[in-house]
């Protein structure tokens, strides 16, 4: 409180904060924007990676076909990342998802190809098997109390082994068309053949409108309850930027093959799980457990039940990822799902999840997964060998978490 005019009375002191309202408002706004940027650092990182690789690949990265590929190639990792970030927020980890994906993929091969069951029945049965795998692991973790690291490390071996057993040391291949659509189908040409698919553009437009309506309603709701909201100018800027990104994305898809089925599955999952984590009691309980398990227990939260259902959910999502992957390759093989768990875990951590639990978001994990996807894709286009790709991805994971740790230490929490 260094006031140049010494005799400071109580009143001027109290009014000190409003001496220069214009200046103050500006700094307040600026700090809002900066805080927002800090919170969304991961989003900026994604943009930086995209920009970097558009240059390095001479724009190939952002070509319509490649954008479409980016989604389809990374769909299954993103599906896994959703379940993984939830598991991590609760303070656990799941190392088995790659093996589970392979196992379920193999089972679906038996159902759809060897037994010739209808594609939809095969899909449902496969998802049920995934859920049962989750029941098995969740039982050991939640009710016996064995650390998830151990249970899922065991699961990694068990389900990889079972995948091989089901396959009988051979690949199962040539799935029905409907099944294959899960991995490489497109929703397109409903209104006939056009240069730009009108359906895709329409969906993009609807998405933009829905986003704006939802954001404005949230903002109004918060204002009604006297909560702090971001400055109007920044709010609009953000909406315009995000709408532009969605618009570009929809345009790219429309000028290639339309909306990938994988993207539809993903969009539904992101929407549903985003709401689950933010707005439902179950989601809140996950955060509470990850933040302080004892306190959660003593607040009446049934921690074991939450743990159990988390792993059932993870098993189901791993099954879904297995289906998408198998459909994409049109082949259920013994090597499927190799290293998926590491990519999903990396996505969650790059996306800001905390190793100790309690912190993380679905959106963050998705963006983390996209960063990995862009790195993979960009480096492949540039012709960088797999060995260096691994080095780069490892460094990115390390630096992302280091940045996060540094940030948290600086803010003192």
């Amino acid at each position: 409180m260094s006031n140049p005019n010494p005799p400071v009375t109580e009143e001027t002191h109290a009014a000190g904060g409003n001496i220069n309202p214009v200046d103050n408002k500006f700094t307040e706004r600026l700090s809002h924007v900066l805080a927002d940027l800090g919170k969304n650092g991961i989003f900026i990182a994604l943009i930086a990676v995209v920009v970097l690789f558009s240059f390095l690949t001479n724009g190939i990265l952002l070509r319509p076909q490649n954008i479409s590929n980016l989604v389809v190639q990374n769909g299954y990792i993103l599906v896994l990342a959703i379940g993984m970030v939830m598991v991590i927020i609760a303070g656990h980890i799941d190392l088995s998802v790659g093996s589970v994906a392979a196992f379920v993929g193999a089972c679906s091969g038996v159902f759809a190809v060897q037994w010739g069951l209808p594609w939809w029945l095969s899909v449902i049965l496969s998802l049920v098997i995934g859920a049962l795998v989750g029941v098995w692991q969740g039982f050991w973790i939640a009710f016996v109390g064995i650390p998830a690291f151990i249970v899922t490390l065991a699961g990694m071996l068990i389900f990889r082994g079972l995948a091989l057993v089901v396959l009988g040391n051979a690949n199962i291949g040539s799935f029905p068309t409907e099944y294959r659509a899960l991995g490489n189908g497109f929703l397109t040409n409903l209104f006939g053949e056009f240069e730009l698919d009108p359906l895709t553009l329409g969906v993009g437009a609807i998405a933009i409108i829905a986003l704006i309506v939802q954001q404005v309603r949230t903002r109004r709701g918060r204002q009604k309850y006297g909560q702090d909201v971001e400055p109007m100018a920044w709010f609009i800027t953000k909406l315009v930027l995000i709408s532009a990104a969605i618009g570009f994305f929809a345009y790219s898809l429309a000028s290639y093959k339309g909306i990938p089925i994988t993207l539809i599955i993903l969009a539904v999952l992101i929407l549903v799980y985003g709401i689950v984590m933010n707005r439902t009691v179950f989601g809140r309980h996950i955060y509470a457990i990850g933040g302080n398990r004892h306190a959660a227990e003593l607040s009446g939260i049934k921690t074991r039940r939450v743990d159990f259902w988390l792993f059932v959910n993870m098993g189901t999502l791993a099954a879904l990822a297995g289906l998408i992957f198998t459909a994409r390759l049109n082949l259920a093989g013994p090597k499927a799902g190799d290293g998926f768990e590491l990519e999903a875990i990396s996505a969650a951590f790059i996306g800001g999840a905390a190793v100790q639990g309690g912190v993380g978001t679905i959106g963050g994990a998705i963006i983390g997964g996209l960063i990995i996807g862009v790195l993979n894709n960009g480096m492949s286009i540039m012709g960088i060998g797999i060995e260096w790709q691994q080095v780069v991805k490892g460094m990115v994971l390390l630096l992302a978490v280091a940045f996060d740790v540094y940030n948290r230490r600086r803010s003192g929490s």
Partner: protein
């Protein structure tokens, strides 16, 4: 040449947005025990962090003069090399290492070959243990000795560093009376050996006992330094809170109604050693509008009783009956206990009470999310509103309810815990050490909140190791010893002497 070993002059320390210390002056004479008092958040710890180099030179304004020499510490090691050692409230010992290993941690005694000389280490450690009056084998693991002894090990560790100025941050906060007395005697004993001590404490009787001088800090400023002869509890309290606290306990006119909770023959065993009885046939009741105290020494089974009752969150082989408004209920899980209208606010709010990485809002709603549920979704604006109401009604000092609870002071954290349970709207509230580690001003507020709850017809059970507190706020007090209720007195008859007699009553053997 002054007789002061330490002078801190005009210390000012600013954090972004907060002036934690403003022009603080502290003079400590050589060979004295100097007490520093102040409410939580007054700046005591910050001042000690400046002194010990945790906040290095350059991050604060002002001068530190130690042994007539201006010092500029870069870090903790720097200040330790000059003989300033700080012992924090949370002990910095490694539980799996031995006493000797802990004492010489990062200061290992090496032989000529460069390897650790274990014989010498243990020998030197036992000499240091003798100096602090601890009869333990230096090879005993830290986890196998009690908190009181661990505190002594910390002091032995300080002695091994040739300490000249020993700083103790709330040294007796976690100790029982016997251990506290021993520790305070040790401080006086070390004074006889020429070691100057600074002791930070909330406990006024303790300050009166050991200190030669008391400095009171409030809102980051030195209020006054008082010599021993002039120290009175009232004066210190007045300095600390900046106003007269005529009564340390708010007035409470009981308006007692029907019986709410009755517990019969409640027995619980140790969770691992299931043959050990921890709670032994406890019978008690609480009526609407009544504040009932449970007094007991450390280890009497107070928390064990409360937690075993609260959804069996402690113990094994639990038997007994619980009646709510005369009807028998089961409390097999915490959720069940809460559903029946029983709440328990823990004694250890950081470990068991709060999600420190989450904000105030979400901590308050944690036990009652169902109330905020609408169409299967949590109504988060309503949650914000509720939290804000509690922030003002409970006087939680924070700029907004979006502040993480880990950043609040002890008193405000406790208010968040209480808000959580008040929002759950129970009939019976069990408060375990509701004012532990909280400064005088906030204590008064907590007592007022307890009174308000009783006036609203809730039954309150208060567990506390501070007898004056129980006698000050309760209507009726139970004494607990070795897991048994050894007596029950209306507060008018509960003199400290009578209570202590009941609290120390041993089992007939």
């Amino acid at each position: 040449m002054t007789t002061n070993i330490l002078e801190m002059r005009g210390i000012t320390k600013t954090f972004p947005g907060v002036k934690a210390l403003s022009n603080v002056t502290l003079e400590v004479a050589r060979g004295e025990v100097h007490a520093i008092c102040g409410e939580n958040g007054a700046g005591k710890s910050t001042l000690m962090k400046v002194l010990s180099g945790v906040y290095p030179h350059g991050t604060y304004d002002g001068d530190i003069v130690f042994e007539n020499e201006v010092v500029e510490f870069k870090d903790l090691t720097d200040s330790e090399s000059k003989g300033i050692v700080i012992i924090h409230q949370e002990l910095a010992l490694s539980p799996y290492l031995s006493i000797a290993e802990n004492i010489f941690l990062n200061n290992e005694l090496k032989g000529r070959n460069g390897l650790i000389d274990w014989n010498k280490t243990n020998f030197e450690a036992s000499k240091l243990l003798a100096r602090v009056g601890l009869k333990e084998n230096p090879t005993t693991k830290i986890m196998d000795i009690g908190v009181g002894k661990q505190q002594l090990v910390e002091i032995a560790k300080a002695l091994s560093k040739q300490v000249k100025l020993l700083i103790l941050d709330e040294p007796t906060a976690a100790l029982n009376d016997e251990d506290s007395d021993h520790l305070l005697d040790l401080i006086l004993h070390l004074k006889g050996q020429g070691i100057t001590s600074i002791i930070i404490s909330h406990k006024l009787n303790e300050i009166k006992k050991v200190s030669d001088t008391v400095t009171v800090i409030r809102d980051g400023k030195t209020i006054e330094t008082i010599a021993k002869a002039d120290v009175t509890e009232d004066r210190i309290i007045k300095d600390m809170v900046g106003r007269d606290l005529e009564h340390r306990y708010p007035d409470h006119t009981p308006n007692i109604g029907e019986e709410l909770l009755r517990v019969e023959d409640w027995t619980a065993h140790h969770p691992q050693d299931t043959s050990r009885v921890m709670v032994d046939k406890v019978n008690l009741n609480v009526r609407a509008g009544e504040i009932v105290g449970i007094a007991g020494l450390m280890g009497a089974g107070r928390t064990e009783f409360a937690m075993s009752l609260f959804g069996q969150s402690y113990g094994s082989k639990i038997t007994g009956k619980v009646f709510l408004r005369g009807k028998e209920i089961k409390t097999r899980s915490v959720a069940e206990a809460i559903d029946h209208g029983i709440a328990y606010a823990t004694e250890d709010r950081k470990t068991y009470g709060l999600n420190l990485i989450e904000d105030i809002k979400r901590n308050i709603s944690m036990a009652s999310l169902k109330k905020l549920e609408k169409y299967g979704l949590v109504h988060d604006n309503e949650e914000y509103k509720v939290a804000n109401e509690f922030r003002s009604s409970m006087n939680i000092k924070a700029p907004s309810v979006l502040v993480k609870t880990g950043k609040l002071s002890g008193g405000n954290q406790q208010k968040v815990v209480l808000s959580k349970w008040i929002y759950a709207d129970p009939d019976v509230l069990i408060l375990d050490e509701p004012t532990r580690g909280i400064d005088v001003g906030a204590k008064y507020e907590i007592y007022s909140i307890i009174n308000r709850l009783a006036a609203a017809g809730k039954g309150i059970i208060v567990i506390s190791s501070e007898l004056p507190e129980l006698l000050g706020i309760c209507d009726r007090v139970y004494a607990l010893s070795e897991g048994r209720i050894t007596g029950e007195l209306p507060v008018e008859e509960a003199t400290p002497e009578a209570m202590l007699k009941l609290m120390t009553m041993e089992k007939p053997r």
